[in-house]
């Protein structure tokens, strides 16, 4: 039977743009161009490699996000080689936090059907990194997170996690959720043929009601966290210049220690 891989990807504001909060203290998505979160490209890449190593696999990319998430987010993943897409788009989703998003993703992943869910290590905008764990919990399947190496064989997913003090080799039975790090291997560029083929790949659009999700569990109202206030980062001030008059090294060390860098 074919291996069903689902990759969860996020459409995020371009980090090189001038990012702001909107009036309701959610990300102002209109002000900056969006793109497929770079960290999710690694997830797509690993899914493609797993798929290429297996005789029969199908990759579905799933995203929860605004209208543009389809053409600028999903489309890139499809151009890289994923087979089809699912886009959950609903006005009620505006302002969702990771609890809401993980709920929607869980339902969407179940809707698609899966043996393996692959996520990036974190989104480049929220950078929480807890979504894969929440998703696994909601799906009730094992999670193997933050892998720098991943493979699937004999109904198992195996991988390597590089910690600060130890390297772990992990395995879980399928179905399972994994997340991969930016050390898992450079993501491929979409080929032009891939880009042109992506247009013809199916993308299913779903609303909350299609997934049987109550609107009050998601969005700003359903969020477990709330942003009370936000101020722009103060303009950069002039740095401290340490003049070495014999004590330069010590002064530098003290500076770093004070800021807890060492």
């Amino acid at each position: 039977m074919s291996l069903r891989i689902v990759v969860c990807v996020k459409y995020v504001p371009d980090a090189t743009g001038d990012r702001h909060f909107a009036e309701d203290l959610t990300t102002d998505r209109d002000a900056v161009d969006g793109l497929l979160s770079e960290l999710d490209e690694y997830a797509v890449e690993q899914a493609l490699q797993i798929s290429e190593a297996s005789d029969d696999a199908e990759i579905t990319v799933v995203t929860v996000g605004p209208e543009e998430a389809n053409k600028d987010g999903l489309r890139k993943a499809l151009s890289m080689g994923a087979d089809k897409g699912v886009h959950v788009v609903d006005d009620a989703l505006h302002g969702s936090d990771v609890m809401g998003t993980s709920l929607v993703l869980a339902k969407a992943v179940e809707h698609v059907g899966y043996d393996l869910v692959v996520c990036g290590m974190a989104s480049t905008d929220g950078t929480m990194g807890v979504l894969p764990a929440l998703l696994a919990e909601r799906l009730g399947v094992p999670q193997v997170t933050l892998l720098s190496e991943v493979a699937v064989a004999d109904g198992q997913v195996t991988g390597r996690r590089d910690g600060d003090t130890a390297t772990e080799r992990l395995a879980a039975s399928l179905p399972a959720v994994v997340s991969v790090t930016d050390q898992s291997g450079e993501a491929r560029y979409p080929s032009f043929k891939g880009i042109m083929a992506a247009k013809k790949k199916p993308v299913e659009e779903l609303q909350l009601s299609d997934l049987g999700i109550e609107a009050d569990l998601v969005g700003l109202g359903g969020a477990w966290t709330a942003v009370d206030s936000a101020d722009a980062r103060p303009a950069r001030t002039a740095g401290t210049i340490v003049k070495d008059e014999g004590e330069g090294g010590k002064q530098l060390a003290a500076f770093l220690a004070e800021r807890k860098f060492i």
């Binding site: 090189t16 743009g17 489309r75 560029y189 080929s191 032009f192 043929k193 880009i195 042109m196 992506a198």
Partner: protein, 388 residues
């Protein structure tokens, strides 16, 4: 808030569809990752990034607007945008891709036999084989009709004798398309590397297009089977048809070099202070920046217009001349004006502006000099040829 991309001034992106934007950003990412970090070194050392060819092939950049034989089959606009992003990296890189796709591959794709296409195009599209295009000779540049290289029948074989000059990718090429005079006019021949009597030597001491290989080809009684001739090309219209393809890429490409200069200059002018204020705040600087952005915007619109005409199958050669003449000329002016804003810093390879300006000297000359394009436009306007 200063802009990070000058093309946003006229919202150029809104004229592109999703596919075009994705192709554009893919090439831009590729150039940022694989070219930008090394280009100053390549330029200084005078080396061409031939080793990038397989990666260019994997993306689908080689012969990208051709169909079949492993080629991408993209639109003309998508091809133009790819050239733009490549040339924002360096004109030498764009030259490698232009010559491979629009001259070498196109000559085979358009004029070759089925066997020639099968043998060469898939490998060339993949970047496994490099091609070059030999038309210009030491004594015949703007006037290729006078070429001296000749091909003579000897039984079933052809024997080629002559010299080709200024040939991009020459010594790197696995296969050369060489144009030669025969009894029945100018014909094209495929000359594989290593054929007895066929040698190359590189042009050294270049001050322009240093990250591109430029060579002289020597054909000293090169014996080729009859199957080496391109059967469908007869007369000068063969090579001129190829040149028209490559020029089209330059119309977009030159604007890439100009954009890169302007982006670098905007950043520099905002950060550099003199007389206690950023030089971007001086009216004279702003006048330059405004004028340059206006010219860039006009050039982009012209390129896109010509691209849409090409996709509609309606692009005429004199229209390509309008684009090539204007866009290379203006790109050069932009690069030089940017150099003035960078002051002394502008003359180094730490910034792209003088590298682009110097590269554009070649771009102004090859694929028809600006004067030749003026004559082509003049002829279209007046009906009188002023070439001779």
């Amino acid at each position: 808030m200063p802009v990070t991309d000058v093309t946003s001034l006229i919202d150029f992106d809104s004229l592109l569809d999703d596919e075009e934007r994705l192709i554009r950003s893919t090439v831009r990412d590729f150039v940022d990752d694989k070219v930008r970090p090394h280009i100053a070194e390549w330029f200084e050392a005078g080396t061409s990034p031939r080793e990038l060819a397989p990666e260019l092939g994997r993306l689908g950049l080689l012969g990208m607007h051709l169909t079949g034989y492993g080629c991408t089959g993209s639109s003309a606009v998508a091809y133009g945008l790819a050239c733009l992003e490549l040339e924002a990296g360096d004109s030498g890189l764009r030259s490698l891709v232009s010559v491979q796709g629009s001259l070498a591959m196109y000559s085979i794709w358009k004029y070759g036999s089925e066997e020639q296409k099968q043998e060469w195009l898939p490998r060339m599209a993949a970047g496994e084989a490099i091609g070059c295009f030999g038309l210009t000779e030491p004594d015949f540049g703007s006037n290729p009709a006078g070429m001296r290289t000749r091909a003579e029948r000897d039984g079933d074989d052809w024997v080629l004798t002559g010299n080709k000059m200024w040939i991009t990718n020459g010594s790197a090429a696995d296969i050369a398309t060489v144009w030669a005079r025969t009894e029945d006019g100018i014909r094209g021949f495929l000359v594989p590397r290593g054929t007895a009597g066929f040698t190359t030597s590189d042009v050294h001491r270049k001050l322009s297009l240093r990250a591109s290989t430029t060579s002289e080809l020597t054909l000293d009684g090169v014996r080729l089977p009859s199957s080496a001739m391109l059967p469908q090309a007869r007369g000068l219209s063969g090579p001129l048809g190829c040149l028209n393809e490559a020029r089209f890429g330059i119309v977009f490409g030159a604007m890439g070099a100009a954009r890169d200069c302007l982006d670098a200059t905007l950043a520099y002018a905002g950060a550099r202070t003199q007389f206690d204020r950023p030089i971007a705040g001086f009216q004279l600087t702003q006048a330059k920046l405004a004028d340059m952005s206006v010219e860039l915007s006009k050039g982009l619109l012209l390129a896109l217009h010509l691209g849409r005409l090409k996709d509609a199958g309606r692009l005429r050669p004199e229209q390509v001349s309008v684009g090539k003449l204007n866009n290379v000329r203006e790109a050069m002016e932009i690069a030089r004006t940017c150099r003035t804003i960078l002051g002394g810093a502008g003359i180094t390879l730490d910034y792209p502006v003088l590298r682009h300006a110097n590269n554009l000297e070649s771009v102004l000359t090859y694929e028809g000099t600006s004067e030749v394009h003026q004559l082509a436009i003049g002829q279209a306007l007046t009906g009188i040829s002023a070439y001779r």
